[in-house]
């Protein structure tokens, strides 16, 4: 595990993969949408109703105590695993959610909801503002990670789940997991934050700001009021390209692309083919703009930049209430959410006498390490959840 990278994990993440012969043991999976009443944001805005798109997999136990909430990251959505009935694409975490997988749907009732402010079916800037009948655009109130969490909690209430067995999430999803364990200590037994932090560093904010500026400076953005035919796709594509660079590692860059060209040199046209890495980034940008709303990108990156786990008081005071047990995972090659951020989190929790298991995996694929096929990662998460489930039954 610590030696050469596993050859099976170079397939990349599933989000923007071309549909091939990928098989999911879950087969087709569906999402559903529910309208929940009344949500007040941290900024003071009140939604009369909020739509939440979510997916559930597995079976809720009669005692309603085997629910695992999966919180998706910046570009994710509710379709966590299985194949999408229309596009045929696998869910973004199909590698790790399913029967016998890291989050075993034979044992757990898995819930994944699209977050507030996103564009995968949950209310966001692209939704219609009931007061104007037009999309919210920049009229949408500022969204925070804790607003996303408040909506997750509303959904849990709707589903009749008083206490989660576990909450798990990476990156932005990890922030929600942490805030849930701290702000709602009675509602979760096990917290698994992955490749995340308690607040963004200047560097993390900086990369998000580049992405935002790319969108804001696209003439099509038009103050956030754009039609379906004139979306600021160039800006969003550039934002996604910058994002993808930060999700990769030097190793991944070298081994996936190096200085390889997309095609052989064509003597007739005398044109040099573009580098493989250019082609990859363009593909990532182009496929992302088809499924993501530029305004959502602005809102969600702002939310994670503003996030501060300890914004409501002193660290010691806030951590005193935590009752969950933690598994915290970071990746050695992740330079966007570097391991020292996770270690600092571990230290704060341990000094507050919270039981924390910490593992820094040697996976060499950067921040993307949680999205790809990753046997070492899957094994640790699966065993941890199994042991916690067994311990609970004693």
């Amino acid at each position: 595990m610590t030696s050469a990278p596993h050859t099976g994990i170079v397939r990349g993440d599933l989000q923007d993969q071309k549909v091939g012969d990928y098989q999911s043991p879950l087969g087709m999976t569906h999402t559903q949408t529910v309208t929940l009443p009344g949500l007040r944001t941290q900024s003071g805005f009140t939604f009369d109703h909020v739509e939440v798109c979510y997916q559930t997999l597995g079976t809720l136990s009669p005692a309603r105590d085997n629910a695992v909430l999966v919180c998706h990251a910046l570009s994710g959505n509710a379709h966590v695993a299985g194949l999408h009935p229309e596009t045929g694409r696998p869910g973004w975490w199909d590698y790790h959610v399913g029967p016998g997988k890291a989050i075993d749907t034979d044992n757990f009732f898995v819930i994944c909801a699209n977050v507030l402010g996103s564009c995968g079916g949950t209310t966001g800037p692209a939704s219609l503002n009931p007061k104007t009948g037009k999309p919210y655009g920049m009229e949408f109130p500022p969204v925070s990670v804790r607003d996303m969490l408040a909506l997750q909690i509303k959904l849990l209430d709707h589903l009749g789940i008083a206490r989660l067995f576990a909450v798990i999430g990476a990156s932005m999803g990890g922030m929600q997991a942490l805030a849930l364990a701290m702000d709602y200590p009675d509602r979760v037994r096990v917290c698994i934050p992955i490749a995340t932090c308690t607040s963004h560093s200047a560097m993390q904010i900086a990369f998000n700001e580049i992405g935002r500026q790319a969108i804001l400076n696209d003439p099509q953005w038009n103050g956030g009021n754009y039609s379906d035919d004139h979306r600021p796709v160039q800006g969003l594509a550039v934002a996604r390209m910058v994002g993808h660079v930060t999700y990769l590692s030097e190793f991944a860059m070298t081994h996936k692309f190096g200085r390889k060209r997309q095609a052989e040199y064509d003597a007739e046209s005398e044109e040099t083919a573009m580098f493989a890495v250019e082609s990859y980034l363009r593909y990532q940008g182009e496929s992302f703009v088809k499924r993501f709303d530029p305004n959502s990108y602005l809102y969600l990156t702002r939310a994670i930049d503003e996030f501060d786990l300890f914004e409501n008081g002193s660290v010691t005071e806030l951590l005193r209430s935590v009752r969950a047990r933690f598994l915290i995972i970071s990746f050695e090659s992740d330079w966007l959410y570097p391991p020292p951020q996770s270690r600092e989190l571990v230290r704060l929790l341990k000094r507050a006498n919270v039981p924390v298991t910490y593992l820094n995996l040697n996976t060499q694929y950067g921040h993307d390490s949680f999205l790809i096929e990753n046997p070492a990662f899957a094994s640790v998460v699966r065993h941890y959840l199994e042991n916690e489930l067994r311990a609970r039954r004693y």
Binding site: M1, R343, K350, T357, N362, H383
Partner: protein, 210 residues
């Protein structure tokens, strides 16, 4: 380490105490300690593959080196801090021991005795770095950084104002009662910090920063 070292430590640790195992490896001993003594225990291990084994056993484990591991915990978070076979591998053993006494009330150290008769004879007669059952690695492979005897360790404890509450010595045949510095291959000690020591802070190795 000699299996009797682990049996001895199991006897020394009272039921339901809190223990931190530094360099816990695959967690076999920590798991035993938790199962048989109902100890609340955690481990620290550097190697991610071994940490994964600990997770499979359902242990609370922290991946990091020993200094980083100790830094995770508040003052007196444990009754016992265990360093079984790792003390001789530490770059700065005195600093680690000071930290161990910050985090735990008592410290258990098991170490190899470099004055064991087999070691002495090999140096004397063969003129080579000794390799024994308890020192199985070539000099270029060993993780040991410090080569000290039982007497060296006793001097160290005295100067560091640490009281050896209990000791046990072993060689391949089992427990050693007489002339441990000559006949024992391994030693294990239960240590307590001794505030009544006459030794001044100046010579205390725990205060030295090297």
């Amino acid at each position: 380490m000699h299996p009797d070292v682990y049996e001895t430590v199991l006897r020394w640790i009272p039921e339901k105490s809190r223990a931190l195992d530094l360099g816990t490896g695959d967690g076999v001993f920590l798991e035993r300690l938790i199962r048989t003594r109902q100890v609340t225990g955690e481990g620290v291990e550097k190697n991610p593959a071994l940490v994964a084994r600990c997770v499979e056993r359902g242990l609370v484990v922290h991946q990091g080196d020993i200094a980083d591991g100790l830094d995770q915990y508040g003052d007196q978070a444990f009754d016992f801090v265990l360093l079984l076979g790792t003390f001789q591998e530490l770059v700065a053993p005195a600093e680690i021991l000071r930290e161990a006494f910050r985090v735990g009330n008592q410290v258990v150290i098991a170490h190899t005795n470099f004055a064991h008769v087999a070691v002495r004879l090999q140096v004397l007669l063969r003129g080579r770095t000794p390799m024994t059952q308890f020192l199985p690695s070539h000099w270029y492979r060993t993780h040991n950084l410090h080569f000290f005897s039982i007497l060296d360790f006793q001097d160290f404890c005295r100067e560091a104002a640490i009281q050896e509450v209990k000791q046990a010595y072993f060689n391949a045949r089992g427990a050693v009662r007489w002339w441990p510095n000559l006949l024992a291959a391994e030693a294990v000690s239960l240590l307590r910090s001794d505030p009544n020591s006459r030794h001044s802070a100046k010579v205390n190795p725990l205060n030295a920063t090297t």
